[in-house]
Structures are given as structure tokens and as C-alpha cells.
Symmetry: C2
Subunit: 117 residues, 2 copies
């Protein structure tokens, strides 16, 4: 884990601590898949409140924590907002083709009318 003196810093696994099983678990949820797809599409930082998700705020916070702790997203405070970015470089380096395959599979599933969110 990254350590720092900043009490507001959020813990993230270093690249070499990211585990495939944790990444797959993080992606194995319709809401989290939607978050990841939005981040991949925007290619930029989005705050948690930029997402219009059909779950409560505390559940949203939980989903982002799962994504952060697994190494899928990076979160940083800016003022009172948490900004999220996809760790695409880390994931592509560790697991080539995996993120793109999941994003494509998720889009294809939605295209078949299988959208759960």
C-alpha cells in the first residue's frame, strides 16, 4: 500500500500489488462495470457525484472503494470531492487486453438488452 503523511490520502495498491482476482471481483458487478465504462469513455477524472447511479450514496461510496482497493481506479480529493480516474496504464501493463475485453463484453451485453443498471 502507498503510505503518506496526509490523513486525507486514500490508500491504493501499488501496481505490483494489484491482483487479478481482486480486479475481476471489482468488475463483477453491474454498477461498478457502469462506473468503469463511464471512466473509460470519458478518459478523464470524474467525481463520484458525476455518476447518476441507481443506488444510495453510501452504496456508491462502497462501490468506489472496492474499485480503488482492487487497483481499478485511482481516487484523490480535490476540495471535498473525490475525483476518480481509471488505472488503465497499470491494468493494461499487468493484464494486457483484459480491460478492453471486459469493456467490450459489457457494451455487447447491454446491446443484447441485458443491461442491469
Amino acid at each position: 500500500m502507498t503510505t503518506t503523511a496526509d490523513p486525507r490520502a486514500l490508500e491504493h495498491p501499488a501496481r505490483d500489488r494489484i491482483r487479478l482476482e481482486d480486479v475481476l471481483h471489482a468488475l463483477a458487478d453491474a454498477v461498478r462495470l457502469r462506473i468503469v465504462r463511464d471512466l473509460a469513455g470519458e478518459g478523464a477524472e470524474l467525481s463520484c457525484s458525476d455518476f447518476d447511479l441507481p443506488v444510495t450514496k453510501s452504496t456508491t461510496t462502497h462501490h468506489f472503494r472496492v474499485l480503488r482497493e482492487s487497483g481499478v481506479v485511482r481516487q484523490a480529493y480535490r476540495g471535498t470531492a473525490k475525483l476518480n480516474t481509471l488505472r488503465r496504464d497499470d491494468l493494461d501493463a499487468l493484464f494486457p487486453g483484459l480491460l478492453d475485453a471486459v469493456l467490450a463484453a459489457s457494451a455487447a451485453q447491454d446491446g443484447r438488452g441485458g443491461a442491469a443498471v
Copy 2:
């Protein structure tokens, strides 16, 4: 679900009922990843007892059930043994590149000394 009059038949989702989230969940476990890698490597049927897994028999049964119910493997009785095959055709048709990316990622992780099983 497939329905049949055979009381020993095991339930499997039809191809169009396989959900990405369920497949990712099934793969998000070191033991199940190892089973899937073994099945992919053999490209053939293996009975549950062909696997030398570091878990109890009941846990092994649980893992195979998760894999079957998510659509990752097909199981059929032959005598008293359950034979397992990877549903590669179904997974490749639904989620192109996903299974291969996961298999490669799992092998790469083990190559980095990250084997958990």
C-alpha cells in the same frame, strides 16, 4: 435454465442467459481460476477428482457449482463422476477475447510469483 426429466441432470444457463457479471465473479477466485486454466490447457473433459486442489471436497464441489451456474463450465455425470468441460464456444461468442485475456493474465500473474494456489 435447461430443463430435463433426468433427475441427475445438472442445471446450466443457456448461452443467452450467461451474464458477464456472473462469469467475472466465477473467475474472481484463485482456485476457480486454476480449474479454468487446467480445463483450457487440457481442452478436454476432466472429472472433479482429476484436480489436486488445496481445499476440501465440499469446497471443491462449491467451486465447480459456481463455475457451472455462471456458465463457465459444463458438468455432466458419467457413472458417479462429474465430468467438466470449459464452455469456451459460448464464452468466446458472447465475450470475445475475455477468456483468453483472463487466462493470459492469470498465467502472467503466476509468472510474477503471485500464485495463490
